[in-house]
Amino acid sequence: MVRRVLLLVCGGLALAACAHILGFRASAPQPFAHRAHLLQGVSCMKCHRGIERAGDDSSLHLPGTTDCVGCHVKPHDTRECTSCHGLPLTIEGAVQAKEYLRFSHASHAPKVKGNCVRCHPEVAHDGRMLRPTMASCFGCHAHEDQFRVRDCQGCHVDLPAEMTPPQSHLVHDGDFLSEHGVRAAAASDLCATCHSQRFCAGCHGKSVAVLPETLLFDQVTRAGVHRAGFRSRHAEEARAQAGLCTTCHNQSSCQSCHDAKGIAATVDSSRSPHPPGWLGAPGQSNEHGRAAWRNPAECASCHGGAGEMLCVQCHREGAVGGSPHPPGWTSRRSKVELPCLLCHGGAQ
């Protein structure tokens, strides 16, 4: 019996600890009960005193304990009301909006006739983030034209420094790293309102000094293609997704490293990356043909440029290796152009 009770107590404690860790906490600061105040008919301006006259450069007008005790004459606690009522996250959002947005409550309050909920609908649901969405702004303002031409500076002071992830367009959620290419295709100018050239060139540039995930090694939760022990598994990743590497890397990216480390067939080394049976006379085991068809970019990463002559030796017109072209191959290139002339022009 005692054992059961102990188990029950331990289980309950474990459950409570889990709930606490996961964020289900009754004692934790809760979003401010805006809804209850609204239903009681408390005007927003009663607590946020002076907000209706606040310009772009005035203070935040966040209420403090002195505002609360005007009505709640017998506070149940001696601490500051905001230490439990209201989330630090909500206040930080307001601070960030103040810093990075050009906005005047003074010019908006008369137009909405003091109905703050029109722009801040989340207060009716006791929301965590009360900053209006861009869609709310667009509900009244004809900013669509500015949005279309990416003229964001009318409202946003400094988007690249603001680093607020978009909430209503191009939402950076899920595996956005793999999605970003297709999303950016039709909206590269929209991406450029926040991301500068160096952000893109950091991965897609021709001579990247150090990859962002290597440079920012301490930001371990940052998404990246080459995270953690990628170097160990890069061959496996490249083979499973033929062509993926080529979308960023040029064909000689791998060669310099493989040559220097002696892991290449092009250097006099026993550490060739190719398995037995890789190269053989016609009719014998000849794996290299299959591999080249499957992912020619992988071959080109080491055997590109001058290394192509290795292939030309056997595959030139009339040579023992035969034609590497697939059946029905056509091309608009002339045989005196590269790379055709290597095999067809007697240039070997």
Partner: protein, 403 residues
């Protein structure tokens, strides 16, 4: 020499950078193998907000031969019409326009917008040759025309023609479309067609993402033709079209206020020749990828995080592996952060390269002030390359102007 001159020029500009509106960030990154210095400069004119400049220059020592090297990744000047009717850029920059692959060029680009919702972008220049190299008679020209079909829909058509040493290296036409039929649904697709050899798809991707409260779903599909992604001047581009396909779905669920769960599964098919090149038959290898990930935020702002990930990739004996990865980020004080990352990869077939490839990193980050930041780490691994290796990493960053 050019690198040295650029670095000195950037440093001279940096002396002025304390005054608004110039911004400068300098990063010094050192690993046991290859120290690198990065200088990032961003300048905006507060009097002429239609003009801005940006530069990213790096210099360092290569891991391979200990020689000094460097390059300018971005040096660009941009002017835009204050009313948003157009903009022009000149210098070294990356062009990512529509469905054609991003290109790093020394050149110009210009974009014009019409009130009807149409846009025209043209660009041209010399493809960047790393380390200030020069390729005579190498150039490219491209364009994209797009039209906004409705408030949530746009489509574009792009084209690029590239020459390498006078020979045709690439000619592609691309199509892209983006649709947002409702607040919770985004659809995007792009396809690029190679026009040089046997016109066909060089790369295509489609993605549809839907979000509803705590859930987000994505369905995606990709087709790539590796030989068509290579420049047409490469001998390997003559191997024809052997595509690689992928389709999959992914989901993200906010299971608790601080707990996010992700999963994705993809089916892959890589085409390959059946037996030998003399045969006409093409066979395929089927494979899959499975990813499960969880992230638990240790506070409301997510400054502290513990994440766990399982990866499984199955295709054939040369590309199948299983991986476990865990990451933690713990704020020790408001300015000091402890981070760690560990990964264990088990290949299905080691082929003499070791049965397990562990990798680990423990890092400390110190935010000394809004201007100074430093981070240090120790990284250890056992890989196909070496049975054990330990590296030390260090980064010091200084910012001038806004963050």
């Amino acid at each position: 020499m050019k690198t040295l001159l650029l670095t000195v020029a950037a440093l001279l500009v940096a002396r002025q950078a304390g005054a608004d509106p110039l911004r400068l960030r300098a990063d010094a990154f050192a690993s046991a193998q290859s120290p690198v210095g990065l200088l990032i400069l961003q300048a905006e004119d507060s009097q002429r907000d239609w003009l801005d400049a940006e530069a990213l220059v790096w210099t360092g020592v290569t891991e391979l031969d200990d020689s000094g090297t460097g390059d300018a990744l971005v040096v660009t000047l941009r002017a835009r019409d204050p009313k948003g009717r157009g903009e022009a850029r000149v210098g070294r920059f990356l062009v990512a326009s529509g469905a054609i692959m991003p290109r790093h060029i020394d050149g110009v680009s210009a974009r014009g917008r019409l009130s009807s919702g149409s846009e025209l972008e043209v660009f041209g220049g010399l493809p960047v040759v790393p380390r200030f190299g020069v390729d005579a008679y190498s150039w490219l020209l491209g364009m994209r025309i797009s039209h906004r079909l409705s408030e949530g829909a746009a489509a574009g058509l792009s084209f690029v023609h590239e020459r390498e040493r006078g020979f045709i290296a690439d000619e592609e036409v691309g199509f892209d479309v983006a649709l947002a039929p409702s607040k919770w649904l985004d659809i995007a697709a792009r396809a690029a067609l190679d026009l040089v050899d046997d016109p066909g798809i060089s790369e295509a991707r489609v993605s549809a993402a839907a979000r509803k409260q705590a859930w987000r779903f994505e369905a995606f599909g990709t087709r790539r033709s590796p030989s068509r992604l290579l420049p047409a001047t490469s001998l390997f581009s003559a191997l024809g079209d052997v595509p690689s396909d992928e389709i999959g779905v992914g989901a993200r669920w906010r299971a608790a206020p601080r707990l996010d769960l992700w999963s994705s599964v993809a089916y892959r098919r890589v085409e390959e020749l059946a037996t030998s090149m003399m045969d006409a038959g093409i066979a395929g290898v089927n494979g899959y990828e499975l990813r499960l990930r969880s992230a638990l935020r240790l506070d409301d702002k997510g400054k502290g995080v513990v994440a766990f990930e399982i990866n499984r990739q199955g295709l054939d004996a040369y590309s199948s592996w299983t991986g476990l990865r865990t990451t933690t980020r713990l704020p020790v004080t408001t300015r000091l952060l402890l981070a760690s990352e560990f990964e264990l990869v088990v290949p299905d077939h080691s082929h003499g390269r070791g049965a397990v490839w562990p990798w680990g990193l423990v890092a400390l980050q110190w935010q000394a002030s809004s201007e100074w930041e430093a981070a240090a780490a120790v990284e250890g691994r056992a890989s196909p390359e070496s049975t054990s290796a330990v590296s030390a990493l260090l980064r010091v960053a200084r910012r001038w102007g806004a963050p």
